[in-house]
Symmetry: C2
Subunit: 457 residues, 2 copies
């Protein structure tokens, strides 16, 4: 029974030390979302597979953690599929639920289910765990916290502007260095894919998305292997190589798409979003029109954005989002949505490395009453009870082991003050208080114990 | 694609209205745990099966939500086991992880893994979700929040007393009616099972636990079906029928167990816990020695406690816990632990039905700026930005639809004040403020917009 016990691959425990920092970050996010008047919701950790599958893309569907059916249901196992090595069919016969893969698809289910009780535009925020069976890397875990804001039922570009400002406000409050917020539009990418004679940009989106990692040449090579024709690749390369300011890129694009209404609409929208956002006093984000941004998830239909980590960090994006017109069920028209996500764990990592967490995350003092024997604790229990009523952190050492060992515990737990009421103190009707950081010890009238401790707390 | 979308059986969504109440309850629990100087930890949502299985009991093991292995691993499916209808073997070949079933076994894994970094006694609190594939009932869900405090590495009875006081303090802060806290000791039950010629009380624990639902007669009938002899049943009935005060029950027991050291130790301990706890000013719990209390989970070895819901509610226990001597791995001796759990959802239900949630859970005011057209919003964006910097909740309606519709939105979202700056107001350099609860409208100098709104927020 002395086997090695560990957390599963890609998951972590958090100690109180880490949780105080996590709470600090989470509270800044939530306070900010509330100032923007987003409403919080929470959804279950798992959803029916019918809700989740087919929304993200095939590759992503395979990265979901599925829940094994229980009891008799497991008899439905499709062993034929296993024999035929059709693993995804086999696995679907054993499961009808999966852990959340993101917060957007559960939101769309929530809205579809509560259409009649919600007022639109529905602005919601959600900070919950999501799970992905990916290979763990620095800043990337299999269980991680995602923090999302979305606006459903409105397609006005002010929604995009509002969410860009959410990023800016959060990063400013955290004291982060300025970051690049890359922006693009799926309609423009659809225009490019049409010029390339593809059916949809989704055919190349996940490869295109690697541009910041493998460069334009790397993308070209990967696409070549996917049997995309040279003429099409050259067309694409022309767009990916476009340089200059946002205005210059937009101008070059207009000449290319003169006869493509959908893409021209996309360009107009993108231009307006950039201009309007800049009126909003952006302090911590630089808006950069980036044609190489594609966003892997297949549900995006319009504006897409992604926030890069500050340049000295190589942990990929720290947030992203976009517009999705087809997620929320409602007959004609479906409700359009726009939303963004904060990569909590990667932002945490940056704050930690840049020493951006405040020094004093918990300023309330703690008190340990030493235990001088079970015959001497009756009064202590009463004192402790009174102090806790005042929300003062205190405790009695739970056994009367040697005082030295009790003091060791106080040191290890970083207790601020130790309270001593032994035989001598009881006889003299006093208590002693030892300041554990300075080592100073002082005596006080036992009748004043509550106000004296309250003064220090 | 217009299929019915729902949350999976036994799970729920939470709206912002419910979450404000849940936050209130959770904060009282956490503040109280902190006043007792427990340290927070969090563990992953799933654990390796080797960590979880064999700790709770066979029945409970079957109620775990297992995670289906992904990718090639699923080829390990033991189809022979399926043919032989050995479903549990088949299911174990398809999974090596499961969702948390409680917080105690993950804690014991955490402590075993971090033995060298922790100082003992290790007092931790944890408020996280757990999952059980049970039949959903009122107040019982398949995904629910558990709130635990445990003390590891100490077997002094003051730990039991401390945790009993945690219950008392939380219930007092919540303004709950007085509840019964039933207490028993597994060593006494082992003594009884020995008198019944059983190997261990675990053979009858889960049936014994039903006494408050089906009565002593019901328990006798179920045990008869389990082939327990009449003589043994009569012995048991004698104990279950014991009546009177805690002192009277303890006295009767002593005469029965005169020659059984282990059970006598259990009785002594129980008596001391009751006496010491009562010195601690218990306000909201009545301590009741109850021989029918067994606690289903098989890891308990000493004191066990359970809190009944107030008598007018029929939702079972709202908390429970006990001592476990064999969970935390460490060679000779293993570390003893004692811990309790709060049934968050059931306590929520009671607070809700008794109207114990404060009326004003969110006192900060919200402001909606009406949208009079995209050519008139530039200033509004600046004002809104300044107000949000001051953490004032405000927003711009995201499109310039009819003012009547924008006002409907303000009503539905329970916005406190609407800010109007249309053509006329701009020309006169004023803004209008409409109080949505009274309907009153007033005009102010536009130059004072920030301080005027700040005054109201």
């Amino acid at each position: 029974m002395s086997q090695k016990l560990n957390t599963p691959k890609g998951t972590r425990d958090f100690t109180s030390f880490e949780l105080k920092k996590r709470d600090y970050l989470l509270n800044i996010l939530k306070d900010c979302f509330k100032a923007f008047n987003f409403q919080e919701i929470q959804t279950p950790s798992f959803e029916n597979l019918t809700t989740l599958t087919g929304k993200y893309g095939d590759e992503e569907d395979n990265l979901m953690f599925k829940i094994l059916s229980s009891g008799e249901k497991i008899k439905k196992a499709d062993t034929e599929a296993l024999k035929e090595n059709n693993l995804s069919k086999f696995s679907n016969s054993l499961s009808d639920k999966a852990l959340r893969y993101d917060l957007t698809v559960p939101l769309s289910r929530f809205v579809s289910q509560n259409l009649n009780n919600l007022s639109f535009p529905f602005k919601r925020f959600q900070t919950q765990l999501v799970w992905r069976a990916e290979r763990p890397q620095r800043g990337r875990y299999r269980e991680f916290l995602q923090c999302d804001v979305d606006i459903i039922g409105e397609s006005n570009l002010l929604n995009e502007v509002e969410c860009i400002k959410v990023y800016d406000t959060v990063f400013k409050r955290l004291g982060m260095p300025k970051v690049n917020l890359r922006i693009n539009n799926r309609q423009i990418l659809e225009g490019i894919s049409k010029l390339m004679n593809l059916d949809s940009v989704n055919e190349i989106a996940s490869i295109l998305d690697k541009t910041d990692k493998i460069g334009v040449e790397g993308v070209m090579n990967e696409l070549k292997n996917k049997n995309i024709k040279d003429a099409a690749l050259n067309k694409l390369k022309f767009f990916l190589d476009l340089e200059g300011s946002n205005e210059e890129k937009i101008k070059s694009l207009r000449t290319e798409f003169i006869s493509n209404k959908i893409s021209t609409d996309g360009i107009d929208l993108l231009e307006k979003i950039i201009i309007t956002s800049e009126k909003f006093n952006l302090n911590n984000v630089d808006l950069i029109f980036d044609l190489t941004l594609a966003r892997g998830l297949s549900y995006y239909t319009g504006t897409i954005i992604e926030v890069s980590s500050p340049s000295e960090f190589y942990i990929g994006s720290i947030g992203g989002g976009g517009r999705y017109d087809n997620l929320v069920q409602k007959n004609n028209p479906r409700l359009s949505g726009f939303g963004i996500s904060f990569g909590f764990d990667r932002i945490f990592l940056i704050l930690d490395e840049l020493n951006l967490f405040p020094d004093e995350l918990n300023s309330s003092k703690s008190f340990l009453f030493l235990n001088f024997g079970s015959d001497k604790i009756d009064n202590l229990l009463i004192f402790i009870d009174e102090l806790r009523e005042k929300n003062i952190t205190c405790e009695l050492y739970p056994s009367d082991i040697k005082i030295k060992k009790q003091m060791d515990y106080a040191n290890q737990r970083r207790i601020d003050y130790v309270v001593l009421i032994g035989e001598e103190e009881t006889n003299r009707n006093i208590f002693k208080l030892k300041d554990m950081s300075s080592g100073d010890e002082s005596s006080f009238d036992l009748n004043n114990i509550i106000p004296e401790i309250e003064k220090l707390s």
